[in-house]
Amino acid sequence: MAAEAQKVPAGKPPILRIKDLKVSFDTPDGEVHAVTGLDFELAHGETLAIVGESGSGKSQTAMAIMGLLAENGTASGAAIFDDQDLMQLSQDELNEVRGKEISMIFQDPMTALNPYLTIEKQMIEVIMHHQGLGREEARAHAVEMLRAVRIADPEERIHDYPHQYSGGMRQRVLIAMGLLCEPQLLIADEPTTALDVTVQAQIIHLIAELRQKSSMSIIIITHDLAVVADIADHIIVMYAGQMVERGTARDIFYRPQHPYTQGLLRSVPRLDRVGGTALQAIPGNPPNPVSVPAGCRFRDRCEFAQDACKEDPPLRETDDGRASRCVLEMDREVSR
């Protein structure tokens, strides 16, 4: 696994650079700051996981990059993809980038497909539009992609409507559609959350295969740390609109630094150990997004909180590429 994480070619500039991204929403309860200043880079061929619970800002980060924020949302900052700032593009220009160079897969495979069109129709339109292929070529390409995501009898099943597919098959179709134009970047927002656990295992397996075979970069957004253990090169942990920790997957799982990451890892139920350990909760609730307290946003729930935490903690970055937003110097080996 360690060797795999190093397949990123050295010296090539990052495919995506996010600079000081801020996202806010105008709501009846007041202005909600969903993301408050996020910076990160994504290398060619890298798989980055953004992990956080509801209200952490993980999904709104992706929506802002893709220009898909809800009407009451505004974003500032820069998202440099291939030398162009996505945040400065017009809707038409964004439409060209989306679906061709950047694809996005959403959480709910039930609603992301048009129920009135066959799978064939929905796939072929995309290929003909973005790649200028003829109908027959486009169909052959679509069948090939369905086979790649393990839809049995793709020549037959391509004529079906979405409701004739199971939830897992629909998510596989969406992944196939996301890959049709061989994008440089795939953004998957909770791609397995609505699926059964056995189907989730199949989809993770599929993504793991994809990233070994292709040079595509992937951002996978999830609330469940365990889901990305096998597929992430790097992980960003978000809490209440901020990055609280960044590191390689091994850093995050084996040597988590931030007390929130540590708590999150402890609260994941494990079945791979006989006997197991009791479920450990993080006490309290995440802060109300309308009135985020000053200082460390995790302070109220943190077992290590002290006076220094009443000041905003800086994101401390180290030479090995790690970062942690905590005043405490912590490096705890998690028992394996």
């Binding site: 619970e53 059964d196 365990a226 999150l264 609260s267 079945l271 150990r273 006997g275 197991g276 993080i282």
Partner: protein, 356 residues
């Protein structure tokens, strides 16, 4: 309570000790729920039958927690609704304290609901947004005891709020002012207000964040201990349910696959489907997750519930299926340690889970 409720319980001879009292409060016998649906055009109309729940039997003891686990389409929620009398079974009995609930009239069933309460999955959607937390919790009291004095209702409501970890001064707040975890605490307080004997929890933590799930599971455990409740805890995977169940029933396509003591089930599952469910839970450890990927995982998709496979319903996806599995329906049989499995090959397979 009992030895099996502690996660460290090491247990051979604990099979007998697992249930605190050897007296079932609930006996479900051969329960089947079928739905039908008409397809086709006016002149070629046919009726399809969906066997949502087929021949389920189990007993639940006082103070015991039974986990019911299955993926979507397994029939777990329909089973719960049949026990609650919200859907009419086609066959079978639901014996509550010896009385068959299936035979009861609507009015009589309403009275029994005092004893049997339910907590649903979506804590926000299942609470009336126009009612205060206090009114939501007190509503069952006002329904069952319309003459209870206001002061008494208030007092009991505040007591319930304290018991589930809410602040009594939040009594006049509305659901949207609470987080998801707090809303689930309100639902639990409401389910407890009539002093029930059994609470059916239908995926009570599935919609909650991971760090909050553990809070709610731990709350349910401590309440059960304090109040001597019986619990049925329904879940879609085997992860959380491990931390609260004494025994676990695994369902697939409406049928029981395995019914076993908690520790036996995780240590040595008897049914290949249980094994697949265990193996599907992602491991928060890159090296172990990578190694586990190489192991056999479940292939294919669940067959259409309108047209279940002959023989064992799981044979189309089972890596151990032999000819017999395609033809004969396996009965749920009593095997080692008093655990039950519906698999022709259960004795011959060793599905033990290694340590780490």
């Amino acid at each position: 309570m009992n030895a099996a409720a502690k996660p460290q319980a090491k247990g051979q001879a604990k099979t007998e000790a697992a249930a605190p009292e050897r007296k079932p409060v609930l006996r479900v016998q051969d329960l089947s729920v079928h739905f039908s649906d008409h397809v086709g055009h006016l002149f070629s109309r046919t009726t399809r039958t969906l066997k949502a729940v087929e021949g389920i039997s189990f007993e639940l003891y006082g103070g015991e927690t039974l986990g019911i686990v299955g993926e979507s389409g397994s029939g777990k929620s329909t089973l719960a609704r049949a026990i609650l009398g919200l859907v009419k079974p086609r066959r079978g009995r639901v014996l509550w304290m010896g009385e068959d609930l299936v035979q009861l009239e609507e009015e009589e069933m309403r009275a029994r609901r005092k004893d049997i309460q339910v907590v649903f999955q979506d804590p926000v959607a299942s609470l009336n947004p126009r009612m205060t937390a206090g009114d939501i919790i007190a509503e069952p009291l006002r329904t069952f005891y319309p003459h209870m004095a206001n002061l008494q209702v208030q007092e009991r409501t505040r007591g319930m709020m304290k018991m589930v970890g809410l602040l009594p001064n939040q009594i006049n707040r509305y659901p949207h002012e609470f987080s998801g975890g707090q809303c689930q605490r309100i639902s639990i307080a409401r389910s407890l207000v009539l002093n029930p004997k059994l609470i059916i929890c239908d995926e009570p933590v599935s919609a909650l964040d991971v760090s909050i799930q553990a809070q709610i599971v731990n709350l349910l455990r401590s309440l059960q201990k304090k109040l001597g409740l019986s619990l049925i805890f329904i879940a879609h995977d085997l992860s959380v349910v491990r931390h609260i169940s004494d025994r676990i029933l695994v369902m697939y396509m409406g049928r029981a696959m395995e019914l076993a003591q908690r520790d036996d089930l995780y240590r040595k599952p008897l049914h290949p489907y249980t094994n697949a469910l265990i193996k599907s839970v992602p491991i928060p450890d890159p090296d172990l997750a990578h190694a586990a990927r190489r192991e056999n995982w479940l292939t294919g998709d669940m067959p259409s519930p309108f047209n279940p496979p002959p023989g064992c319903v799981f044979h189309t996806r089972c890596p151990y299926a032999v000819n017999r599995c395609h033809a004969d329906i396996p009965a749920l049989r009593r095997l080692e340690h008093g655990d039950w499995a519906a698999c022709h090959r259960a004795e011959g397979l060793d599905l033990s889970v290694g340590d780490g």
